[in-house]
Subunit: 343 residues, 2 copies
Amino acid sequence: MTNPVLNDPTRRAALAALGGGAGLAAASSALGPNAHAQSAPTTPAASVPAAPTRQGGGFYHHRIGDISVTQIVDGARTIPLADGFVRNASRDQINAALGQAYMPANSMTLVYNPMVVTTAGKRVLIDTGNGPDPKGAVGQLLPNMMAAGIDPNTIDIVLLTHFHGDHVNGVLKADGSLAFPNAEILVPSAEWAFWMDDGNLSRAPEGGVKQTFVNVRRVFKGLDRRITRYEMDKEVAAGLTPFATFGHTPGHASLSLQSGNARLLIQADVTNHPALFVRNPGWHAGFDMDGPKAEETRRRLYDRAVADKVLIAGFHYPFPSLGYAEKDGDGYRVVPVAWNPVL
Amino acid sequence: MTNPVLNDPTRRAALAALGGGAGLAAASSALGPNAHAQSAPTTPAASVPAAPTRQGGGFYHHRIGDISVTQIVDGARTIPLADGFVRNASRDQINAALGQAYMPANSMTLVYNPMVVTTAGKRVLIDTGNGPDPKGAVGQLLPNMMAAGIDPNTIDIVLLTHFHGDHVNGVLKADGSLAFPNAEILVPSAEWAFWMDDGNLSRAPEGGVKQTFVNVRRVFKGLDRRITRYEMDKEVAAGLTPFATFGHTPGHASLSLQSGNARLLIQADVTNHPALFVRNPGWHAGFDMDGPKAEETRRRLYDRAVADKVLIAGFHYPFPSLGYAEKDGDGYRVVPVAWNPVL
């Protein structure tokens, strides 16, 4: 039935391009839109269209050399744009940046993208998302992981880049049990040292930072024997090496994934949404605990990423959370990777 | 178990931003990465990781005002870069454009994205993809449509923008039966007039264009009573109006979808892959039957899209095949829409 040449529009077009088609163009100009409509079939459609109940996507498989990688979306939250969301930019400046990215003004949609790296037979989950959410806007990691064909029981390592709740809360299920029961939990030693220090807790101001101390201790309570503190610049799995990108939090890690000449830069939270913080690396997000240090880290990392033309995975980039950075004025922009529908 | 304030990192960060955190930054600088690793659990993972067998995505739901829209990927083909792929650009120029888009040199990955518009209770499929492909690289429309919760039997209208095989071949299944058995098939009257004219067929040069004549007649054979020819600038379903974008083919249609103030410009094949033909609107693809006319159409449409900041759906844009156009030098660039993981 199918003729491989006839049914391959590319080959046909290539043939057309080679064979020429000037005569057809001339012929077509002599034809007008003058055909008459025929009667249509009257068979009704089988049922009334139903509204969609779930979004597509959820996971995106790709490869870095020999290493299989899966980006998995945990969901999104849309919040009103609060004062202090960016410490050193006005509401008007933020709205202008949102407009340039074709995003609505006066609100911010934050997205969350954990990922799984399968290397040398080991499955590493990098960050765990927001954990259980009764509303379902976030906490989609587990169902999306299962849709991707990845059984949570096969995760060997849960690697956390830092201790904000949207990265660590997915360690636990709603009933407090482990979401990845067979996994060792790797944490940056500098991050652990900071958040587990009672003196730091006692000096923390009331509000979000103090609540993060409380949350970190809640999540990790009783997990000491599962937790391994990792050092920067030491490989944690074949081809996967964390490195220090302090500033967003005191012990924040990014990772380099390398296989042969192929490389992925896993930036974690060096920037939040690229429309704001890649475009304006000098903006200090309320999320960045040390704004100036986070900015210095950000500019250094992005200058290098631009020079290397390296693929970047950003936890807060829009799904599938992969792109390339380019210099753009004083800042940068992310060119999202082209979706490959074929494995 | 879950504390809505504690578990909302955004609120915590906003509080942190408001409450200040300078003391914490100072405290963190006194801490070094000096923790010792603890012993890890020795429980093995439940099974050996399996390679992924299918890509995620496949469909993407969004809304234009009150109208539900679903982009559905039909797959991708990667072909060697043949001479004539672009009539008026050299291989070096094409490779440079591919490099600027972080795509590999000397080959071209073409993607195909039909879509479903559900408006006023009518389901309209716009273009049908490549149809059955034993290799599975394309012909994914039907399984992806079903994954999106859209039963092919509920399609009321199959609207074709033009008659190239990657748009019409999906009308039929492998056994020659109708893929959308309850649908009326709408075709542009100018396109029908051109390809059904025996004089045009007799004047067609050997190669791709002649093969397209043969293929069009194969696909539509015996379907006369299902086929309705549509005129430009006349609404075909609530909010959905085709308009002439001749050049790519003699009767090529694009569509405007409007609901309230929301609008989607469905460009069909005014450009093929944006990395080449949005970026370089003066390039004449081998696919474009009348290169100069296609270029004129392309520049006119994109100038208007840039001025209107209108969302564009491109059949050959990377999935989910939605983006905004911006002027960039003599050409344009597409800023892909940010993936929304929440319905």
